[in-house]
């Protein structure tokens, strides 16, 4: 926060987040069932994730490794001993009517993540990040459609036991934009670590606590004391599933609270549901009692000692570091470097190309042409994972002057993406091979000979004449000559 002049009645927005991310493991956190989504309900289940009487949880090492990677990436402490607890509550999607989670000894403690908002760098404190199991999912059928009004409800346990990491931040955010920047950065980091897939349905779920605090309570550096935070009523906004959604939901909630305060109404401490389609938050239950989850230790899982793993497990260069290195090493703009490090795959591919050809050319081709065309088709780089070699070849054709940049983008790349063709085949079929210099020179001479009027106009100083001649040459070469080159050749010939 930058220091601002505090005025009477100014309000500061304070937001803290609880982010649930699904960890990408092959099997569930406490059993061997696959995590891969299936159409058929209750297919990926076993006695353990169904919570059958007598079944016992056994911790999935891959989930712990993912957690340690996250801990390393956010520079968190991993305690000598971490434990699992039971969170007891009744809900029809919860097979055991308790959730195995972590409580007072989470696997990651006191971390931070740096974000950049409007060019300003700042660090967000991550108080804790812990492992837990996902409940199942419910489908309400008939009646009013809600859990209390449906005719009946179907339970699907395919998702039960999928590993989650709950990441809890300090109330460090001062605007919805900061929240969005944080979530985008977090997603990037998690994808770099290979522990998260943003494309998977329900892989990111956010609960946000928002309260408005009088600016007078804030210190000069923007810090707000614990007392002021606790004194203010906050709302918890649930059902947010993307960083864009988070910003929208919180802008709505911020405005709603501001308006209420300005009209002299008190903010009720409550849980609100973000209704994405209507773009509003709705009160879920007013005067909700403070829930008592009766946490206690899960004796079926021995304490976990994995502090040493932090040194053993390697993590890749993270997006922020890579961005900085790209700017320095390849002389890229901040914007280009950001685009090129948005996912690990994009960055890896860029470096691949940049090391062989001109880094600037590589940047244009990866950041602008490839990502642009993919974006236009609503595709991601992961959708063309197996075809990056073809894109690489296309850049090579341009770099070695075999085809024009214009044709490469407008014809070859588009056909590659739309029809799955390989670049050489497109060049061949469309006859795009760049015309040889002799041929162009020949066409230039011919054009001058065939159009004496235009030549006369040019010599008389008429600017448009040269363009007419360029057009003639282009026609003769079937569009495969470079118009700039043709222009120069014409001028040289006419002098």
């Amino acid at each position: 926060m930058t220091a601002q002049t505090v005025q009477q009645g100014d309000l500061v927005t304070v937001i803290g987040l609880e982010v649930h991310v699904q960890l990408e493991t092959n099997t569930k956190i406490f059993c061997g069932c696959p995590t891969e989504p299936t159409e058929e309900p209750n297919e990926n289940v076993c006695p353990v994730c169904l919570g059958l009487p007598g079944a016992l949880p056994v911790l999935n090492e891959a989930a712990v490794e993912s957690a340690v990677k996250i801990g390393k990436a956010i520079d968190a402490d991993i305690p000598e001993e971490t434990r699992f607890h039971r969170k007891n509550y009744y809900y029809p999607d919860l097979p055991k009517n308790f959730q195995i989670t972590q409580y007072d000894e989470p696997i990651c403690q006191h971390g931070e993540l740096e974000i950049s908002v409007e060019g300003q760098r700042r660090s967000v404190t991550i108080e804790r990040a812990h492992l837990e199991e996902d409940p199942g999912s419910l489908q309400h059928v008939g009646g009013g459609g809600g859990i209390d009004s449906a005719e009946y409800t179907l339970v699907n346990y395919n998702r039960a036991g999928v590993p989650l990491m709950e990441i809890v931040t300090a109330p460090d955010f001062r605007s919805p934009a900061e929240v969005r920047a944080f979530l985008a950065e977090l997603e990037e980091v998690l994808e770099y670590l290979g522990v998260f897939d943003a494309g998977r349905d329900g892989s990111l779920r956010v609960d946000a606590n928002l309260s408005m605090i009088s600016a007078e309570e804030a210190d000069e550096d923007g810090t707000i004391g614990l007392e002021a935070l606790e004194a203010a009523n906050r709302t918890e906004v649930k059902n947010i599933s993307s960083h864009k959604g988070a910003e929208k939901a919180l802008v709505y909630e911020e405005t709603r609270q501001k308006n209420a305060i300005q009209r002299g109404r008190a903010i009720e401490q409550e849980t609100r549901h973000w209704d994405e389609s209507r773009g509003i938050t709705v009160s879920m239950r007013s005067k909700e009692e403070e829930k008592d989850y009766r946490y206690f230790e899960e004796a079926d899982l021995p304490p976990l000692r994995v502090a040493g793993w932090k040194a053993e497990i390697a993590i890749p260069e993270l997006p922020s570091a890579r961005r900085e290195r790209f700017q320095a090493e390849y002389d890229l703009s901040d914007e280009a470097a950001s685009k090129l490090t948005s996912t690990k795959q994009v960055a890896d591919f860029y470096e691949d190309v940049a090391l062989e050809y001109d880094p600037d050319l590589a940047a244009t081709w990866v950041a602008d042409e490839l990502l642009g065309e993919l974006n236009y088709r609503d595709m991601e780089i992961t959708d063309v994972e197996g075809r990056l070699e073809d894109v690489h070849r296309l850049v090579e054709l341009v770099a070695e002057d075999e085809i024009t940049a214009k044709n490469a983008k407008e014809v070859v790349l588009r056909e590659m993406l739309d029809d799955g063709s390989d670049p050489d085949a497109v060049v061949e079929a469309a006859g795009l091979g760049k015309t040889g210099e002799d041929e162009v020179q020949q066409a230039v001479v011919e054009a001058i000979e065939e159009n004496p009027d235009a030549v006369a106009d040019h010599e008389a100083g008429e600017g448009g004449a040269i363009n007419f001649l360029v057009g003639q040459v282009m026609q003769k070469t079937g569009g495969s000559a470079d118009p700039g080159d043709v222009n120069q050749l014409l001028r040289a010939e006419l002098e």
């Binding site: 009517n97 004796a299 899982l301």
Partner: protein, 425 residues
């Protein structure tokens, strides 16, 4: 079977039933141990129709060892009781003392062995549930060290305290069954490899107590029935004659053991039994009101009084504001009990006490007085709090009623207690 020993009769065997260490032997299995395809009720109306789709690890091991499972035995509902009278399926008569309870909660298993309905039996022991019925029915029962036997498939009552263990007519036979079921299981993360895992428990039942040092915790004799105490000393005299020596030791913490035990057991039970909500077990649907009301109604119908009492108390003990006063304090007491046992066992190879401070109750006698029932566990629950192994072996009779002697060893000291107990076989 007038004693009402089995809830469900069965005949289950592995593919190679004529091979293996238990070939030709029949085993009765407590009805809280999951058997694929055979209902597993835990003595509860809630699970009257529950048929597990999988075998508990110990059941797989029995089948692999060539044993034949002859039935699922009666028990106190979810293991909550000392008499087998809280079972939804009625009480079981004591074959060794007709008209009396067989003890509990594994009363059906002990009775099956006592009545000759099975050569061997499996029970589970959360606070004495193997040793009590072994003592009351005049058979041998072993409660293993926590972590020696897999609990996978054992329907949890209090999961930090309980172990599956064997019953037999003799110490050696019970030890043979222990040999089959003991050992780590990748499905139970709390199982551990015993330090001397190559040695056979049955081979340890050689009756050799020459030079054995026995500690007698004075606290475990206080308040015990006179006839029980006399029988206990007679048995110790017998061991002394065979070359053992004994001395008194003190376990000052055990005066808090019963309270600590019940707080921990009930707290864990309140969570372990939460899944029985009428969605998949018990009566599902058909109630007025929302899902929360439906859960409540299904549980009201499906559980008996003792189970409800323990769930309510356990829920209370874990609640915000009471957690530190009850649950946390009980955990502190548990640590203290462990320390006391470590100390006592530093000056003795095994500790000895009467298994139960009283002879078997008459049927119906204790049902209306839960406190009397809870206090009867005074000598057995400290062992569960300390995760230690113990054997109950017949020590004689008082007024024609069986009396059991309990021998307690250090963690994974099963061989020591089996050897000592076998001297009384």
């Amino acid at each position: 079977m007038s004693e009402n020993i089995f809830i469900t009769d069965a005949e289950l065997a592995g593919d190679d039933a004529d091979e293996g260490p238990l070939a030709g032997r029949t085993v009765a299995v407590k009805d809280n141990i999951s058997t694929e395809g055979v209902r597993t009720t835990c003595g509860s109306r809630m699970l009257e129709e529950y048929v597990p789709p999988y075998d508990a690890t110990v059941v797989s091991r029995l089948k692999d060892a060539g044993a034949t499972i002859v039935g699922k035995t009666n028990m106190d509902e979810f293991g909550m009781g000392t008499t087998t009278e809280t079972s939804y399926f009625g009480s079981t008569d004591n074959p060794a003392a007709p008209g009396h309870v067989p003890g509990g909660s594994s009363g059906g298993s002990a009775a099956a062995v006592a009545a000759g309905e099975a050569d061997l039996a499996l029970g589970s022991d959360t606070g004495g549930s193997i040793r009590c019925p072994a003592a009351f029915c005049g058979v041998v029962g072993i409660k293993p060290t926590y972590g020696l036997v897999s609990r996978y498939g054992l329907v949890a009552y209090a999961n930090s305290l309980e172990q599956i263990g064997p019953f037999g007519s003799t110490v050696e036979e019970a030890a043979e069954l222990l040999d089959v079921i003991a050992g780590p299981d990748e499905r139970d993360a709390t199982t551990r490899q015993a330090p001397d895992s190559n040695a056979s428990y049955a081979a340890a039942a050689d009756g050799d107590v020459d030079g054995l040092s026995i500690g007698v915790p004075t606290e475990l004799l206080e308040g015990a029935d006179e006839g029980v105490v006399d029988t206990f000393w007679d048995a110790l005299a017998d061991l002394e004659e065979q070359g053992a020596e004994y001395h008194e030791v003190s376990l000052p913490s055990v005066e808090h053991a019963v309270e600590a035990y019940y707080v921990i057991a009930m707290s864990e039970a309140s969570s372990n039994l939460a899944r029985f909500d009428g969605v998949r077990y018990g009566n599902s649907g058909g109630y007025e009101g929302n899902w929360n009301d439906a859960f409540g109604r299904a549980r009201e119908e499906g559980f008996g009084d003792e189970v409800k009492r323990r769930i309510l108390l356990g829920t209370y003990a874990l609640s915000a504001g009471y957690h530190d006063k009850y649950y946390k304090k009980a955990q502190d007491a548990r640590a203290w009990v462990k320390q006391d046992f470590d100390q006592a066992l530093s000056s003795a190879d095994v500790l000895a006490s009467p298994t139960m401070p009283v002879p078997p109750f008459e049927l119906g006698e204790s049902l209306d007085d839960p406190m009397q029932m809870y206090l009867a566990d005074a000598n057995t629950v400290p062992v569960n709090l300390a995760d230690l192994p113990a054997v109950s072996v017949p020590a004689g009779e008082t007024d024609g009623l069986p009396v059991g002697l309990q021998l307690i060893g250090p963690a994974f000291g099963e061989q020591q207690v089996i050897r000592a107990a076998s001297a009384l076989d």
